[in-house]
């Protein structure tokens, strides 16, 4: 049962960030979110972060990753998340095997 100091610090940093976002709703004036542009910006954050996170893997690793990501995206429009993950993982493994 090891507990690395750097890992503990990182976990505490993540916890602090999450405590902040969770409690900020308590003091957030409703008026701040009423502005359409502020609201649009806020709502776009998760998708934008996730897209920025995967883009290098999807677009700049190799064709197997790009094709696997496309298949995964199509699956994501219809299937539950766990099936989407299964399809993505299998597609990536098969396409990488084809690519050698």
């Amino acid at each position: 049962m090891s507990l690395d100091p750097a890992t503990l610090t990182a976990i505490l940093a993540m916890a602090a960030a999450t405590i902040f976002t969770r409690l900020a709703g308590l003091v957030m004036p409703a008026s701040a979110l009423r502005h359409p542009r502020a609201r649009a910006a806020f709502e776009a954050v998760p998708a934008a972060v996730l897209a920025a996170l995967i883009a290098p893997t999807v677009l700049a690793t190799g064709w197997p990753e790009t094709v696997a990501a496309l298949l995964t995206a199509v699956a994501a429009l219809r299937l539950p998340l766990i099936a989407v993950v299964a399809i993505g993982v299998v597609a990536a493994a098969l396409l990488r095997a084809v690519a050698g």
């Binding site: 049962m1 090891s2 507990l3 690395d4 750097a6 890992t7 610090t9 990182a10 976990i11 505490l12 940093a13 993540m14 916890a15 602090a16 960030a17 999450t18 405590i19 976002t21 969770r22 409690l23 900020a24 709703g25 308590l26 957030m28 979110l33 542009r37 502020a38 649009a40 910006a41 709502e43 776009a44 954050v45 998760p46 998708a47 934008a48 972060v49 996730l50 897209a51 920025a52 996170l53 995967i54 883009a55 290098p56 677009l59 700049a60 990753e65 990501a69 995964t72 995206a73 429009l77 998340l81 766990i82 989407v84 993950v85 993505g88 993982v89 990536a92 493994a93 098969l94 990488r96």
Partner: protein, 236 residues
């Protein structure tokens, strides 16, 4: 105000636990996967239990493990968690007024446990009945114990699996994030947002490899979303 008899807290807590049960079952494979990916990054069961218990936000935990380095870079990981979890502010602002029967401390505790599924179920409850602390405790208690237990179990299971890349297992991160992104597809300006974020991230990564590309990409996507003409505002 209400004249209907107050249901017993026990009954309410059980109703809350039953309401979250399908989500709790559905989240088990992800919890195991998270634990397995964490094991691959060298985290111990204790470290994963701590992370799940203190952070309790699956999306940001997957993101953190994707970015994980040894030794862990707390500033990068903390900033990533902040960005991924900014949506909590909106969720909290929306659910807080519906917690009028909560003790102030209970409200703080409830918000600290505000995960996506709990929020969704609490909103649904508040739409049809009074949201009671006991109902919320049923929701949050079951999902919390479930998440901490199965992510920790995943470390033990995952440590026996071997090299994840051999099965395309590393692509699970990308696949989960694609699935989560697809969940936002009905948000206004969705496509321009993710295209801008993705392209800006790839361009940044080419010049300056590392987590900076996430911040730049995210900023580009958010800027595009904010600057888009709000065409269907009246319908929203």
């Amino acid at each position: 105000m209400t004249v209907s008899p107050e249901p017993s807290p026990w009954h309410e807590a059980r109703a809350g636990a039953l309401a979250i049960l399908p989500a709790a079952v559905a989240v088990v494979p992800f919890a195991l996967l998270l634990g397995a990916l964490a094991a691959e990054k060298g985290l111990s069961p204790l470290e994963v239990a701590l992370m799940s218990g203190l952070v309790f936000a699956g999306g940001s935990q997957f993101v953190a493990l994707d970015l994980w380095t040894t030794p862990a870079a707390w500033l990068t990981l903390g900033s990533a968690a902040l960005l991924v979890n900014l949506r909590h502010i909106l969720m909290g602002a929306s659910i807080t007024p519906k917690m009028e029967g909560f003790h102030p401390l209970g409200r703080v505790l409830a918000l600290l446990l505000l995960a996506d599924e709990i929020w969704a179920m609490a909103e649904r409850r508040a739409a049809v009945a009074r949201l009671t602390p006991a109902f919320y405790a049923g929701l949050a208690g079951l999902l919390y114990v479930n998440w901490v237990a199965f992510t920790t179990a995943g470390v033990v299971v995952g440590a026996r699996l071997g090299d994840p890349a051999a099965y395309g297992f590393d692509f699970a991160f990308t696949a989960i994030f694609i699935g989560l992104i697809a969940g936002f597809r009905h948000t206004r300006g969705f496509l321009p947002t993710i295209v801008a974020a993705g392209l800006a991230a790839v361009a940044t990564q080419a010049v300056l490899p590392g987590p900076v590309s996430i911040a730049v990409g995210a900023a580009a996507g958010v800027a595009v979303a904010a600057l888009l003409p709000a065409r269907r505002e009246a319908a929203a």
